[in-house]
Amino acid sequence: MSETDLIGQFLANAAGTTAAVETVKRDPEALNEALLRIAGDGPIFFACAEDVDPRLFYRFGQNQRVLTEPSVDEMKTIRTGVTDAFCGIASTGSICVSIGRELTGPASSLTRKHIAVLNAKAIVPRPRDVFSEEILEGKGLHRSFSIITGPSATADMGPLVRGVHGPGKLHIIVLV
């Protein structure tokens, strides 16, 4: 499958999970504009595991509202998180977000809105491809991470409700 096909499939399937997904030019200004637009008001919890080139976040990181090391109290209340994702999965519209030294884990799980930035070149065809030494330098075999497929959801209270313990809104930016 060509890279363009993979991106197309990824975008369609991610939208199918009710994530909001869009492509953005690989450029600090463009990314900054998109992140601030999607994030809306209030402080932003930003964590990058360097799976997407950190230089692309340079403009965004300068913003006063962006917190890379929020205090305990800020972490308890902050509503928007921005992280990078090291992999996208075309067949399911999922993203893979690391859980490691950088705070990508909490930024993508404590918040109500999670914005993930994914490199278009890091999209693989199927979930099983994440577990391969040959793909993405075997990243999927050597770290802790979550494969995130759409927003947090439950049907335990009867109807399907989005937004439970994890973010009820998931936005994915695919850098092209």
């Binding site: 999965i89 802790s144 995130i148």
Partner: protein, 740 residues
């Protein structure tokens, strides 16, 4: 009215099914209170599963691979435990191998105490239910907050899980709303799904921020890396594993597989088979203790993360040594077997389940982990319909596990009851009854004899017992042959056809047998009739395994001879065909013989449809022959459960559609009669509950066409539908016979 009064019995009181009475009460409670929510929710999962696995283009290969990995992992389990221990310890984690539930709970309690923990957040874990962890911690003064919303509901209602993936599946939104309003003093509205979710989320968020320790289960654990797989949709597992500095994971030893590379095989299968999604919202792959800095949102000053892996034996090693129960260890706890099960859809895991394990697979798990055969009594609710078999991602023969439990239970309780002997020896009974069918049928219809039959053999008196034919199929066939000389084969190279004279067709459904012979001969395919022989179906359904094995061995020799002589065997009764195609592989000692039988036995419609697919001329010839009258008849076809399992469930539909007929089909998995199941007094209400579900679908079609023809291949399906609708129900061959 309070929940207690409304339910009149609390599910917990009857969770343990050691006593027959508990099973009976649980069935009554579930049918009265829980059935509607259960049916809606399980059928939604079931429909979604079919869609999701339909999108996996290598579904069958994935299942083979998953089975292979699980089989070999259980085989080398002791070695994997050692490898896993080394991997976790190398990263600074601790591993504790608990032989019993007491060892496991006391280890967890000690870890909690060593951290002076007051509050533990816990993600859904059936294994922790198995060991009764919450009680132990609470008795030690430690608060346990269940963070999965379904488990949160159960903590309030004090019920046991009714399903392994969706533990509160038995509760409708209305019943959750009522429960919360009674339990919580709050001004917040508690009516809609959103309101209930937000309310529970806010309570639990406070718990997450304050907890000192997080406890999870594990879907799988990889030995070489010490990686754990945790699948969820709410995000509570992510918080449980990231917020507190201490993470305790409790995993049954059967969850260990060699390498995390193998997770790739399981994650798509698990999500598709369980909730019917391509993937659940969060598939967490964790190498604890995590590199993530300690967050200390709880105000503590913990300096490093700690990880404890509690590996639980609690009967599993013994299951591994048990040639039959061992198979249950391959289970990946996806719940497909529950969602697809007609009985489970009607009564759920509070009746079809024990203290924590539920559904068809729950019997073996309950027996294995409790060490008590009697606690697995709910295995009696498995009708043997086999719908779980092709839907299990690791190909576990769940009905077989339940037959084994029924068999062992029967022996432990002093041999077969009169009821089991009655239902399990249909052949002998039929032989005697058919000596004077008129007399037998008359006696059967009398109310005193029905009362006796109910009292001593457990046959519910509200069921009409199918009458015995005045003349058996064997004799009817002889008469037919006297008038109709054997047909010469048009193709001398074609295999001969022999209709197997199974006991149901021979003694009760003679018209079906004769219609099969006439249809095939009218179409130019000569058919002869086999000897009448017992196949073992009725014995197997009662757990009379030795008797089933004896019948299978005798019959296999006979059928193999026919097949070696160039014959293909037609079987009009699907449950008997199911024996040849599925069960004989396990009942016979010789895999060669069972594979020959599997390849050369056919449902009549399956055979006709595949002939039509090979040879389109055949359909054109048939179209010229059929007499449908002025208006084309419209058909409602209910496919027999075992026909579906062997892949012949849609043959009749495809065949009739090739003839240009309009066919509607049911989507119920099984009619609920399931051989003898629906005749039994103790299960009559479940059977009727399932039968109503099927009848509703047929009634809907009848409303738009009053002259709808109702077709079903199974004798018990026909009985069940007739009992509900009082309308004629035919075998598809009878319908074709009439058209020709």
């Amino acid at each position: 009215m309070s929940e207690r009064l409304l339910n009149d019995i609390h599910p917990r009181e009857v969770a343990n099914k050691s006593m027959k009475e508990s099973l009976r009460k649980a069935i009554g409670m579930a049918l009265r209170i829980e059935s509607d929510a259960l049916r809606l929710n399980t059928q939604t999962f079931n429909t979604n599963r079919y869609t999701a696995v339909g999108k996996l283009d290598d579904y069958e290969d994935l299942k083979d691979r998953a089975r292979e990995i699980k089989e070999s992992s259980i085989q080398k389990l002791p070695e994997l435990i050692e490898r896993l221990t080394r991997s976790v310890e190398a990263r600074g984690g601790k591993v504790f191998l608990a032989r019993t539930k007491e060892e496991a709970t006391s280890y967890v309690r000690n870890v909690c105490r060593s951290f002076d923990a007051k509050l533990v957040v816990k993600a859904k874990s059936i294994t922790s239910e198995e060991i009764g962890l919450n009680h132990v911690l609470q008795d030690a003064g430690i608060e346990v907050a269940e963070t999965d919303l379904a488990e949160f509901i159960l903590q309030v209602s004090k019920e046991q899980p009714s399903h392994i993936v969706a533990p509160a599946i038995h509760r409708s939104r209305e019943r959750i709303s009522k429960l919360f309003k009674e339990h919580f003093e709050t001004a917040k509205p508690l009516d809609t799904g959103e309101q209930l979710t937000e309310f529970a989320r806010d309570i639990l968020r406070e718990k997450f921020l304050a907890a000192e320790i997080g406890i999870t289960g594990a879907n799988l654990v990889s030995a070489d890396e010490g990686t754990i797989l945790l699948v969820e949709s709410e995000g509570n597992i992510r918080l449980t594993t990231q917020l507190p500095a201490v993470h305790i994971a409790i995993a049954g030893i059967e969850k260990i597989i060699p390498s995390r590379k193998d997770f790739g095989t399981f994650i798509e299968l698990l999500a598709a088979s369980g909730t019917g999604q391509p993937l659940s919202s969060y598939t967490n792959i964790l190498e604890p203790p995590l590199d993530l800095p300690v967050l200390n949102l709880n105000g503590r000053k913990d300096t490093r993360r700690e990880f404890h892996l509690v590996l639980l034996d609690n009967g599993r090693m013994k299951m591994r040594e048990d040639p039959d129960l061992k198979e249950a260890l391959y289970c990946v706890r996806c719940s497909a077997c529950m969602n697809v099960c007609a009985t489970f859809q009607a009564v759920g895991g509070h009746a079809f389940g024990g203290e924590c394990y539920t559904g068809g697979i729950g019997g073996a798990w309950t027996v294995g982990t409790s060490g008590s055969l009697a606690e697995g009594r709910f295995a009696e609710l498995c009708t043997g319909c086999t719908r779980c078999v092709p839907n299990c991602p690791v190909r576990i023969d769940i009905p077989r596990l339940n037959s084994v439990i029924k068999n062992r239970l029967m022996k432990s309780e002093g041999g077969p009851s009169l009821e089991k002997r009655f239902f399990g020896n249909f052949s002998s009974m039929a032989k005697v009854a058919s000596l004077a069918p008129a007399l037998s049928n008359w006696i059967n219809s009398l109310s005193p004899s029905r009362a006796l039959l109910e009292k001593f053999a457990g046959v519910d008196r509200r069921r009409s017992v199918p009458p015995f034919a005045k003349v058996t199929l064997a004799r009817e066939y002889d008469k037919y042959r006297k008038k109709n000389a054997p047909l010469a084969a048009t193709d001398p190279n074609a295999r001969k056809l022999v209709l197997f004279a199974d006991v149901f067709t021979n003694y009760q459904n003679v018209q079906v047998g004769m219609a099969t012979i006439r249809v095939f001969e009218k179409l130019g395919f000569p058919v002869t009739l086999s000897n009448v022989m017992e196949d073992g179906r009725s014995a197997l359904s009662q757990g009379l395994l030795e008797s089933a094995r004896r019948s299978a061995a005798r019959l296999a020799v006979y059928l193999k001879r026919l097949i070696d002589g160039g014959a293909d065997i037609l079987v009009a009764e699907p449950s008997v065909l199911g024996m040849f195609r599925l069960d004989y592989a396990k009942l016979l000692d010789s895999p060669d013989v069972s594979s020959v039988l599997r390849a050369h036995t056919f449902d009549p419609l399956e055979w006709l449809n595949s002939s039509a697919e090979r040879n389109p001329q055949f359909i054109r010839r048939l179209e010229q022959k059929i007499k449908t009258g002025a208006t084309q008849p419209e058909i409602f076809y209910h496919a027999h459960c075992q026909l579906k399992t062997i892949g012949a469930g849609d043959a009749a539909t495809r065949f009739f559609r090739k003839l240009g007929l309009s066919v509607k089909t049911s989507d119920v998995e099984c009619c609920g009669m399931a051989g003898s199941f629906g005749y039994k007094k103790e299960f009559y209400d479940i059977s009727k509950n399932i039968g109503r579900d099927l009848a509703r679908q047929i009634e809907k079609s009848i409303r738009s066409n009053a002259s709808l023809r109702i077709l079903a291949s199974g004798t018990s399906c026909r009985e069940q539908i007739h009992d509900e609708l009082s309308r004629r129900v035919e075998h598809p061959v009878e319908f074709i016979d009439e058209m020709l």
